[in-house]
């Protein structure tokens, strides 16, 4: 049976892994190659890099990071953050990324999803959706870290990008992100049930049980988490042991 995936997410700024503490203070958390290798050894199924480099001068640094990691870590690598054009997608894939995630650019110009998946294949294109609940059973797509409303219904938007050629959806609840209260399971399930492509649940993981809930109750195909792994609270291996104990198929 296909295993449910656990994906640690690393924030990268100017070539270094950084950890946010309450979204204010960014602390250096090491060399991306070392951190990626450590997660690989713990049994991570994929690794996601989110490039949060503020200065546009430093944006090409992520390409070197991807090159170095892809030379030494032989599991799938997804890269997102600031991806605007098909050329951006190509550059990251050529550097060694297996998938590239597109967020704001897809909202601004949905055709970029069609164009990118047509050029490099759906399997390389992840659309990242940041959503906030606006009414019972209704979620709206936001951009810019939850500041800008788009007027798009999250479930409808997910269906739209799937039909445009996205191969996967990375779904983040902006209500839950950073809270450690667990995924927004209603949102996760609504999107996962609506689309025929895989959905990665993100935002809010505070315990290993939350990861398992994302799969069993949210029906996610994969679960993504950052802080729970970064700060040494838990390892990927512990997460998989708990998921298996709850009857979830995992790669051990």
């Amino acid at each position: 049976m296909l295993a449910k995936r656990i994906i640690p997410c690393l924030d990268v700024s100017a070539g270094r892994v950084v950890k946010g503490v309450n979204f204010v203070e960014l602390r250096d958390a090491g060399d991306p190659v070392e951190v990626a290798r450590r997660y690989d050894e713990q049994g991570a199924d994929e690794i996601t890099f989110l490039d949060i480099t503020a200065s546009s001068d430093d944006r090409n640094i992520i390409l070197h990071v991807v090159e170095q990691v892809a030379e030494q870590v032989f599991i799938p690598l997804t890269v997102g953050g600031g991806v605007r054009t098909v050329d951006d997608v190509r550059r990251l894939l050529n550097a060694g990324a297996d998938k590239v995630s597109i967020n704001t650019a897809a909202v601004n110009n949905p055709q970029v999803v069609a164009e990118a998946s047509g050029k490099v294949g759906s399997q390389c294109i992840v659309v990242a959706i940041d959503a906030k609940q606006v009414a019972p059973g209704k979620w709206e797509v936001f951009t810019h870290g939850g500041r800008n409303r788009t007027g798009l219904d999250a479930v409808e938007w997910a269906c739209r990008v799937a039909s445009l050629g996205a191969g996967e959806i990375l779904l983040t609840s902006m209500d839950r992100d950073g809270t450690k209260n667990g995924f927004d399971l209603g949102l996760t399930r609504a999107v996962s049930d609506a689309v025929a492509i895989p959905v990665i649940a993100s935002g809010g993981v505070g315990s290993l049980e939350h990861l398992a809930d994302g799969v069993t109750l949210g029906r996610a195909d994969a679960v993504l988490a950052a802080s729970i792994f970064h700060f040494g609270d838990h390892t990927v291996r512990e997460a998989k042991a708990l998921m298996r104990a709850r009857g979830i198929e995992v790669r051990l």
Partner: protein
């Protein structure tokens, strides 16, 4: 010194394949090449692929690589990966295009009506992630890889060989499908050994020492 050619017909990034083979090359030289002469001169050949099969076939011919691929598949240790496996067959449902026709059989899309898990949940397509690979014949490329080991898959189409004797492995996803085929000097896989951590590196290491 022994040389491995990774065939580059312009369909995306071959860096991962290149680096993974280099990782297990044990002194062999690895070249990524679009030059038919270099393919013919190599001791071993890796035939990767990603994207859509119609584009892959078109680009292969645009670079004049078809004769070199056919010759390598006839005479050298040959490893096909993903679309590089699918292209060995007669025909694909994807874009309704002919393949190289080295093996008889069809490349098919996962049947949507069968994409249901045992618990009733919908199985997503593409089939993306780590799934169990069940070995259907003893083969040197399976050395030190446990039966049922998980490899990383990402695909919506799979090969359906006319000759069941070709099947070297199967995987279950709604239906049992062919995950690997083998015949003489050819071994070809639907999954991505270059992205399959230890199991994948072991398979590629086995390929590097294979003497068919």
């Amino acid at each position: 010194m022994s040389q491995v050619a990774v065939i580059d017909y312009g369909m995306g990034n071959l860096r991962s394949v290149h680096k993974a083979i280099e990782h297990v090359a044990n002194g062999a030289t690895v070249v990524v090449t679009a030059d038919p002469a270099q393919v013919l001169a190599a001791d071993r050949v890796v035939f990767p692929g990603q994207g859509a099969m119609p584009d892959c076939m078109r680009e292969l011919d645009a670079r004049g690589l078809r004769p070199a691929v056919l010759e390598a598949a006839r005479s050298k240790p040959f490893l096909g990966i993903c679309i590089g496996q699918q292209m060995l067959f007669e025909h694909s449902e994807e874009g309704n295009v002919p393949g190289l026709g080295i093996f008889r059989g069809e490349v098919r899309h996962f049947p949507s009506e069968r994409m249901v898990a045992a618990d009733g949940a919908r199985l997503k397509v593409p089939h993306m992630g780590w799934n169990e690979v069940w070995q259907k014949q003893a083969h040197p490329l399976w050395a030190n890889i446990p039966d049922g080991a998980r490899f990383y898959y990402v695909h919506s189409y799979y090969v359906d060989p006319a000759d069941p004797a070709l099947v070297a492995a199967t995987t279950d996803y709604g239906i049992p499908f062919t995950g690997a085929v083998a015949q003489d000097n050819i071994f070809a896989v639907q999954f991505h050994p270059e992205k399959s951590a230890q199991a994948g590196l072991q398979l590629m290491s086995n390929f590097m020492s294979w003497k068919p």
